[in-house]
Amino acid sequence: MQLPDLFTDYTLRTVALGAAALGATSGALGSYAVLRKQSLLGDAISHAALPGIALAFLLTGSKAPLVLVLGAAAAGWIGTLLVMRIVESTRVKEDSALGIVLSVFFGFGLVLLTFIQKRPDASQAGLDRFLFGQAATLLQRDVVMIAALGGIALGVAALFWKEFKLLTFDPDFGASLGFPIRALDVLLTTVLVLSIVIGLQTVGVVLMSAMVVAPAAAARQWTDRMGAMVVLAGGFGALAGVSGAVISSLAQHVPTGPTIVLCLTALVVVSLTLAPNRGLVWEAVRQARNRRRLHTDAVLRDLNALAVQHGGQEHVHSSAVLEAMHPGARHELQALEDRGWARRTGADGWSITTEGRREMERRGGGGGEEEGA
């Protein structure tokens, strides 16, 4: 199979489009969850959605995607409110509240699923695809629904851009300005719930939390601006969705959901290591450069001290002297010469230049001890 199949193969195109739409939505809205330290709320919401799917089917007898997704959204929403309520009114902390809602709702969902399976009409087939997700079962109507609900979620986020930003970074200040912070909190949670439940059929309840956390965590490394982060996270989510769908179609028996998650993980690893400013590689380069500079400065200081003690910068010293004063000095002398701060006389005679002295003066009085700090 070749890449052009993405445009001709109907199933692959459907799956890729669906994965892209949900990746963009959950990635963009996940930015809020990550910034608000609610990364694991997504995990709780997706697990809590399971009984909603089963109940929606039990009550309506319909397996229409919209019905099931709305059931999932209702259950996920109730689960989230329950977490908030438990944290507010008892001393049980958020991590425990999330753990309880996640596992108990999921367990209840299993009870309902097994209950449905035991029914004589056996029409339950397909409900368990929500557990692990089966992207291959995506139909065009599913993709339309994902895009529509995702569009609504993103539209609300765009409409309340300023308010959500305020809620994320300084809710107390927002409240003092008269914004209905609590209502906004519930609205943002609702939108997040929506962005999670549309992904359950493709990725499954277990892995959906990664779709919320990973794109935002990756995007965060590249920028310090909220707008850029949300757009970038949406882009990362969509990219991982499409590449996951394509990769899993290239090989046999490679499920789509986990593949998308691994694509996201790769994006996160690249971002953590390579992103400018925050990335680990740049951090290491910066540290090495700083360490080098400290060494160079120390040798320059030694040269200066020698010049002062021997009454003038014409007095030369061998590199062994400097090496004794600062181990590794030979290396730094070359660097100092390159910058014009040290001069070599003969084979191994070193002294400070006028430029070098000026540099020392510029840094504070010639012999400054604070240099090494």
């Binding site: 990364s39 009114s89 049980v92 753990g99 596992s103 277990v206 990664a210 953590l272 680990l280």
Partner: protein, 371 residues
Amino acid sequence: MVPEQEIQWIAAVTAAACALPGVFLVLRRMSLMSDAISHAILLGIVLAFFVTENIASPLLVAAAAATGVLTVSLVEVLNRTRLVREDAAIGLVFPALFSVGVILISRYAGNVHLDVDAVLLGELAFAPFNRLVIGGRDVGPRILWLMVVVLLLNAGFILAFYKELKLTTFDAALAGALGFAPGLIHYLFMTLVSVTAVGAFDAVGSVLVVALMIAPPASAYLLTDRLPAMIGLSMGLGVVSALSGYWMSYLLDVSIAGSMATMTGVVFLLVFFFAPERGLVAIARRRARQRWAFAQTMLAIHLLNHEASPEAAEESREAHLHEHLRWEPEFARRVVRGAERTGYVTRVAGERLALTERGRVAAREAVGMGA
């Protein structure tokens, strides 16, 4: 034993074994590490299975426990880069490890006895089929003995390191200053959580591990302030949830693991509402009582202020309270009736209220003029 009894024993022992480390997870605010570990160990199980080709091999338990510890350290490494916060680090690590596990299973283990449903959801109903045979004698279900060992291991660890665990849980900084090596205790403890998760995972599936580890200790946390009592209560509530869950699944013919998880939730909900001091009902009743007591004291202070003053006749009329204290007439009537019953006020000449000696003392105390 008949299979039904064996399943109940497995359920009860598993619940007790999970509750022990669960107490410290809840107190250390690391509840969700149980979620991360119980998912990530799938990868360890799969890898060990590829090596041994035997689902009952003890190597599986060891590999799974090692993956659990790997998860904990990966989260810590990510957290230490300070590029992502701890919650996000957890959310990044375990889906990645779990995904690798799922892909390996579906790609290479399609036809063997290892599928994602079974490990994730667990099927307790089949547990009695897997027997432990020692010297040709059937001594019971393998998983039951595994969980008994895990339970004893947990109990032994907590007894041996009780002081250290307690100190590192409640005051890690002090523990470090006293030389208790909180880091070492932390890793030992997380190894224990992993081993417990592996054992329980085999019996009841990974999601129920979270329910059994977190919900009973969180319930116990609302019932007591003492650590030994919390440990005992957690085990008790866990066992009660497990057994009632078993019977629920038996009556409704549904998933045993799911029913057990549901019952841990029901128990938590009951405690959440009806805990003697910290339950919602107790809190609401305490608030209501305080509101009435406060209103009665207000009334007494009001009467004291105007006692023996020219306007006393006017101010002490019940109907006047509406004007002066902004009380609704109905509320005022009830407060007056309550204050009469408490013995703060008496009625003189119908409408007028007068302070009793007791009411005068109470009002003086409230405004800081007492004794």
